[in-house]
């Protein structure tokens, strides 16, 4: 009789703990380096920047041990790593002897938001025992998503920042509801498509050899989708429009397995982009700035490529290994702590730093897809794919904009960029993925 070889795997939570301790160490080291390089002393405020998030993450980890012990062990460390790197870079930009009297408290507020976001994520994890219960609330989820999208258009509380109407101002805090709407709409798309996938895929009459699903099946989802796009166009927020477009396309493709939808979607996208670039001057400007940012004409134009070019200079300056944290001049790039945070990372941590960050995102997305594959039911699969793809596409749109893969559009870099609503939304995504991974069928027998 062959002897069974028993290989004891360390528990998932212990793996998570070790990974977390690594990220805590990296966080402390990075904060110290930033202080030494910019203000030449170790300032005690570093304890505040390090201590609060570390305490929260430790608490989150303990919560997982009790409430989701089978959850994926990498999600929390990856989220913490990216978020803490963002805090370090934002803090570093605050410390820079900025040429303008810009706000220098962005970093300390980001720490507060990081804590709040992790706290909310922990609450979501605690409160949502099983994500399948979401299936009962898909229409509420839809209504919530649309409402969140509409909020910034309302008088009084709506706020316009840099030409885009996507903020809500509630006196004390202002936030971007669109970030939260992406979760609500992902839940709705996943739930709706899971219940209608057969009828969308096979029912319907044929037109020119192509099966068109009945209007009552396709209608609600197409309406919601187009409405959200319309609102986004009115709000002048291209990045988010693109994000929803891509998310919807991927989910309907995964649900129905029909490339036809992708084909139609891409044609719609191409014609939409063409129309937008012709008739919306700011879109045309973005495209010119993307194609030829270095030309003097685009460089000096209002809304031209100045910011992109300054970021390119910074990235080139960083080169392969970067200037080291605190050694570069990322503060030259406008909005270095939000849309262009990746450029600050590239300047000071170099191409290797960029590769590390991209690898982290890839790993995060890969975990989401792995969870999707391991689930047996359609809703869980679609929800996991949707949440994973939303992160992947957002990373692609915003970082691709900085590296000139696509034209520049306004989007936050998930988990890195300064801004509370984005952090909250992405931490909630991580919480949902944790829950999804904890509820995998026959947990423990899934191939490692």
């Amino acid at each position: 009789m062959a002897r069974a070889r028993v290989r004891v795997m360390p528990s998932k939570r212990n793996i998570e703990l070790i990974m977390l301790l690594f990220t805590f160490g990296i966080f402390a080291f990075a904060l110290a380096q930033v202080q030494l390089a910019t203000i030449q002393v170790l300032s005690p405020e570093g304890w505040y920047f390090w201590g609060l998030p570390v305490a929260l993450a430790t608490g989150f980890h303990i919560l997982l041990r009790y409430k989701a012990s089978d959850a994926d062990p990498l999600l929390l460390p990856i989220g913490f790593f990216l978020n803490s790197l963002g805090v370090v870079v934002i803090y570093r930009l605050d410390l820079a002897k900025s040429l303008t009297d810009a706000d220098r408290t962005v970093g300390s507020r980001q720490v507060v938001w990081m804590v709040v976001a992790m706290l909310l994520a922990a609450l979501v994890l605690w409160g949502v025992k099983n994500h399948l219960s979401f299936r009962k609330y898909i229409y509420i989820s839809m209504a919530l998503g649309v409402l969140l999208l509409l909020l910034p258009l309302l008088p009084v509380i709506g706020k316009t920042v840099n030409g885009a109407k996507l903020w809500v101002n509630l006196g004390v805090i202002s936030f971007q509801p669109g970030e939260l709407a992406k979760i609500a709409l992902t839940v709705f798309f996943a739930g709706y498509l899971a219940s209608r996938r057969e009828s969308l895929a096979v029912v319907g009459r044929k037109v020119l050899g192509v099966r068109i699903p009945p209007a009552r099946e396709l209608g609600p989802i197409a309406f919601i989708w187009l409405a959200s796009l319309g609102v986004l166009v009115l709000q002048r927020d291209l990045g988010t429009s693109l994000l929803y477009f891509g998310l919807f396309l991927v989910l309907i493709y995964v649900a129905t397995a029909r490339a036809f939808y992708v084909f139609v979607g891409l044609i719609m996208f191409a014609s939409g982009a063409l129309v937008a670039s012709r008739f919306m001057s700011y879109v045309g400007g973005r495209i010119n700035g993307w194609l030829d940012p270095l030309s003097e004409e685009n460089y000096s134009a209002v809304g031209g490529s100045y910011q992109l070019v300054q970021s390119m200079f910074g990235l080139a300056h960083g080169g392969l290994f970067g200037t080291g944290l605190g050694g570069g001049l990322p503060q030259i790039v406008p909005l270095a702590n939000s849309d262009f945070i990746i450029s600050a990372i590239g300047e000071e941590l170099g191409l290797v730093g960029i590769f590390a960050v991209l690898a982290m995102y890839m790993l995060l997305v890969a975990r989401a897809l792995r969870i999707a594959n391991a689930h047996a039911d359609d809703f869980s699969k679609l929800l996991s794919v949707g949440l994973g793809f939303v992160i992947a596409l957002q990373v692609f749109i915003v970082i691709g904009g900085v590296f000139r893969v696509v034209p520049l559009t306004g989007l936050t870099t998930p988990l890195l960029a300064a801004g509370g609503s984005s952090l909250v939304a992405n931490w909630i995504i991580i919480a949902l993925l944790l829950r999804l991974s904890d509820t995998l069928p026959k947990a423990g027998t899934v191939a490692q």
Partner: protein
């Protein structure tokens, strides 16, 4: 759904792959070009961290970095307006120009020749000190050229025609580069705007281009060269010599300067026409040669290409696709012929140097702060522009032009000077552009010079190359020859 999820995963993989590739392209492959973009302030800020090298003339700094008690550590100081066309400026937000721009990597210590110093800096933490640059400029000649130009707008450039070493390079009006290198960015920006919008355009380096000039009669050197190079003409070949000449296919008549016959006879030699700078014979000669032959000769003198001295000159232009009348006009340097003073200097230098054009250069040596030589410029030939015999013929004509022709004001007692003046028209009522280019001594040339004076030297249409430009050139040549 599994195959669909796998395809989505592949798409995501491609998306990330494109980010990896684009990041590598921007941060590594294209990094050098981006780092050298003059709008890029980062190397400038970096530059302020280290002591930038000096630009030296006869071992005295005309631009140097002195310690300052602020965040920038060092302030760039310039010795005076007379070198502004050479040094350019080095500013925080207005970029950099001139040698400050073209020698930036050496000046800031980023030259590959300083690799070991950089390596040392990496481990020791001591910053690299920039390399210093010794120019070929002769301080005394530079000052003579600057003073001789007086209050005129224009340029003077002088070099050793046998080596290409530039001895003097002046563009007027100059500017005070200290106004732009100041760390007070508000002042720098206001000063820059002022300089940029001034009518007399002090930021333009008139010596090597910026805006080009109509050459007028100095272009006859190119046409005469083309004629003799063709083998169909010699200096003594005769051309019809009417008082007025109607350009073929038009009603436009042209005259010689002074509206007289050139030398009085019915026919005139090329040598006499050059000596007296007559337009009609050169128009006839140009039309007979054809624009292709002249264009080919102009190209051999360097028209159509810019020269790095190491600042980039503007390429001079001989027009294409002209009809016979336009060819005639362009043969005495009118119509759309446009040249830089550097280009005309290169023409007379090639004639002085037996037909061989030398690469003009401003930088003699580049050396590190501990005086290790990094780079030394050796004279280099660009090409043969004309044959030795053609150069002899041209030289003789130019000697005649100074000794007994209309370029007489360049003559220096005891020295045989070769030269050619020009008085270019710029349109009805517009003041003339005044020229001189030449060299001395004719037998054993030590200095070639080109002078351009805008705005008729203040005399409008009464200004002449011989009355305004030739005396300036004379002073410069005298300064070199100590006569």
């Amino acid at each position: 759904m599994t195959p669909e999820i796998r395809r989505v995963a592949n798409v995501i993989l491609l998306m990330f792959l494109s980010l990896f590739i684009a990041a590598s392209a921007m941060q590594v492959v294209n990094a050098d070009a981006l780092n050298n973009d003059s709008r890029n302030q980062r190397p400038v800020f970096d530059g302020y961290k280290t002591q930038r090298g000096s630009i030296l003339v006869d071992n005295k700094p005309i631009a140097e970095s002195v310690p300052s008690n602020n965040a920038y550590h060092f302030l760039r100081k310039y010795s005076g307006n007379q070198y502004s066309a050479i040094t350019g400026f080095y500013s925080l937000y207005q970029g950099r120009t001139g040698l400050e721009n073209y020698l930036d990597s050496s000046l800031r210590g980023d030259n590959s020749g300083q690799f070991f110093e950089q390596l040392n800096a990496l481990f020791s933490g001591n910053p690299v000190t920039g390399a210093s640059v010794e120019l070929s400029i002769d301080e005394k000649v530079q000052k003579v050229a600057w003073d001789a130009l007086g209050d005129n707008k224009g340029a003077v450039i002088a070099m050793d025609p046998t080596t290409g070493r530039i001895i003097a390079l002046v563009s007027k009006p100059g500017f005070d580069a200290n106004l732009l290198s100041t760390h007070n960015t508000g002042d720098a920006s206001a000063n820059y705007k002022k300089l940029l919008t001034r009518n007399d355009a002090p930021l333009i380096n008139r010596a090597i281009g910026g805006d080009l000039y109509a050459p007028g009669s100095v272009f006859k050197l190119v046409v005469a060269s083309a004629a003799i190079e063709s083998g169909k003409y010699t200096a003594q070949s005769k051309l019809p010599n009417p008082r007025t000449y109607t350009l073929p296919g038009t009603n436009t008549t042209i005259t010689n300067s002074g509206e007289s016959r050139c030398g009085g006879a019915k026919q005139v030699s090329i040598a006499t026409a050059l000596k007296l700078s007559c337009n009609i014979p050169f128009a006839e000669l140009g039309i007979a040669l054809g624009q292709d032959a002249i264009a080919a000769q102009a190209k051999k003198f360097g028209f159509g290409e810019s020269v790095d001295i190491p600042m980039k000159s503007t390429a001079s232009v001989y027009p294409e696709g002209m009809d016979a009348a336009q060819t005639g006009l362009s043969s005495f340097g009118q119509f759309d012929v446009r040249v830089s003073p550097l280009q005309m200097l290169m023409v007379s230098s090639a004639i002085a140097n037996g037909g061989i054009e030398m690469q003009p250069f401003l930088v003699d040596q580049i050396f590190t702060s501990n005086l290790t030589l990094l780079q030394e410029t050796k004279p280099a030939e660009i090409r043969r522009s004309i044959s030795t015999s053609t150069s002899e013929a041209l030289k003789n004509m130019m000697v005649m032009a100074v000794s007994s022709g209309v370029s007489s004001n360049a003559s220096i007692p005891g020295v045989v000077v070769a030269g050619k003046t020009g008085t270019a028209e710029n349109g009805v009522g517009e003041p003339y552009t005044l020229w001189f280019t030449g060299f001395a001594p004719a037998k054993n040339p030590q200095v070639a010079v080109a002078v351009v004076v805008e705005n008729g030297g203040g005399y409008g249409q009464a200004g002449r190359g011989n009355s305004v430009a030739a005396p300036i050139a004379k002073k410069v040549m005298q300064a070199v020859l100590n006569k």
